[in-house]
Point group: C2
Chain length 332, copies 2
């Protein structure tokens, strides 16, 4: 049985400039709940506490959004994402008080140790603690598995391989899942969070499931950073056709995607040249809008900026370096 987690109301925030209202959040959450989705993640795109000039101001507070989601669901669980270094423990405590029962604690794939405090706190305070290893394409399977074991040792019951750059393909995704599956205790689940920049959002999620991942993320209409996430309603259908079970009902899920989410989208989640360049360069998906703005400001190609960021191995949290890269390219 695959556990499906929707990220439309968190990762999707990146593609609407963190502008969802509590009413919109409640409508999407109610639809996901009706369709039987196991859990949904709600917050600023960069997690609770992400609203800032650096990461983009949100139109509403995480508190208001989490409260709206919690009030709209009857079965689905609410997850809050936290990036240590951006948000603090205080935010997680607050999210719990407002109805979140899952803490997803995200770090760069080589920095699991900064999640110790937050994962341990969640585990001790009746939140399900989940570890999130971002930009997982940047290190090999064995190194990634070692980081996953750290998160497990802090109390994570699920550890996610997060393909933040959408740079993995089914083969490299499956290798990483297999390594984690082998390294972690049997009772610790492996999760996979895909981006579609190389067109492999759904394909990677299926390959991950075949390799032993049992928690999969997606978002309605693919709403998310870069070319978006694995498109949830499509993934649900593809899982069924692959002989893998989920708790969702497909038609209600398709309906909330089409009738509630599609009208809220600022642009369709296509794979244009910039989004493809993100996957090819191996750059953090949420850099998409930042890179487009910096490229326009300095009169350079977004693709050139993204390739440069890939060469510099810039990771999430280093958004200010996008301007530097664009400015330097303009001077060449």
């Amino acid at each position: 049985m695959i556990t499906l987690v929707d990220s439309s109301l968190r990762d999707g925030m990146h593609s609407v400039g963190h502008s969802f209202t509590p009413e919109q959040v409640a409508a999407v959450a109610a639809g996901l709940d009706r369709a039987g989705v196991d859990a949904l993640e709600v917050s600023h795109g960069d997690g609770v506490g992400g609203s800032s000039i650096q990461y983009g101001r949100a139109a509403f507070s995480d508190d208001a959004l989490i409260e709206a989601a919690a009030g709209a669901v009857s079965r689905a669980r609410i997850a809050a994402l936290l990036l240590p270094g951006i948000g603090t423990l205080r935010r997680l405590r607050r999210a719990q008080a407002l109805g979140a029962s899952i803490a997803r604690v995200a770090t760069h794939c080589t920095e699991a140790d900064i999640a110790e405090q937050h994962i341990a706190w969640a585990a001790e305070h009746e939140m399900q603690a989940i570890g999130f290893l971002m930009m997982s394409h940047m290190i090999g399977p064995a190194e990634l598995a070692a980081q996953a074991r750290l998160m497990e040792s802090y109390g994570a019951t699920v550890v996610y391989i997060v393909d933040s750059a959408g740079a993995l393909v089914p083969r490299t995704a499956a290798e990483r899942v297999s390594a984690l599956r082998e390294a972690l205790r049997p009772e610790t689940a492996v999760g996979f969070h895909a981006h579609n920049n190389l067109g492999c959002g759904v394909g990677n999620a299926l390959a991950a499931a075949d390799a032993g991942a049992s928690w999969l993320d997606g978002s309605l209409r693919g709403l998310g950073a870069g070319a978006g996430n694995a498109q949830l309603e499509v993934l649900a259908a593809a899982l069924e056709r692959s002989g893998l079970e989920t708790a969702v009902e497909l038609f209600p899920l398709m309906d909330v995607a089409e009738e509630v989410v599609a009208p809220l989208m600022a642009r369709p989640q296509i794979i244009d040249r910039t989004a493809l360049s993100i996957g090819y360069a191996g750059v953090y998906s949420s850099f998409l809008l930042h890179a487009e703005r910096a490229a326009a400001k300095f009169g350079v190609e977004p693709r050139a900026v993204l390739m440069e960021l890939g060469r510099r191995r810039i990771v999430g949290g280093q958004e200010d370096m996008i301007i530097d890269a664009a400015a330097e390219l303009a001077e060449r």
Copy 2:
């Protein structure tokens, strides 16, 4: 080495109502040629001779389009698709005279025998003969392999598994490729033509390559029937990241997708409710616009029409039955 075939100017015709002009065809063909794509397919969406009330009238003749493409390329080969029953041998002869050197002869997956005359003619007249088994999800791997052997026996040097409904997933695509790979002579290549209705366009093409397919179709920006094809420029990047070689140069390919094809598109190739329903129901992708029109005319849901067509196992060439199904649903 993977041979890449672009179908933007044939399958893509479905999503622009068969309206491409010779000038547009020449511009796309020149771009594909510059980027090193091995071959490109040009004609009405339903192959040479497809222009009709039943399948949709084309704005320009296949002759004019093939001639325009042939005049615009220096390295890339031109392929003409022919569906026996829709086009006749005369059309293939004419396509060859105008510059096509590849004949792709397509039948429903259980009807390979109607391709004998056309494949044999092409093989005897210095065209590369390729067999195209459409709606390949409808029969199992062994039965499909038997049909592929028929096409091989007529003279086909490549036999394609065509996922016309976009209903395959990596597992079921790979099973079919493996069966053909085992059944055919080593010198006969296996091809795969994907549709993205279940989000697996690129993922299925990669799985097919891993299972032994060496000819892969795609189209720029995914332009094609249903949710479109495997997005060619994305597939090229994903193949590279999977360690599989092609002859294309990625950046020029991305550029022709973005600068030449994107402005010609009537709508983005997203997976909306109707496109997803096509993959889930297992219905011919080019039914998309027909089913939307029929549903609107009779005041029923497109999804309901598509599920009904799937139940009736309606296949390509039976477009008139879409109206019947919609009318009967309206009476229920």
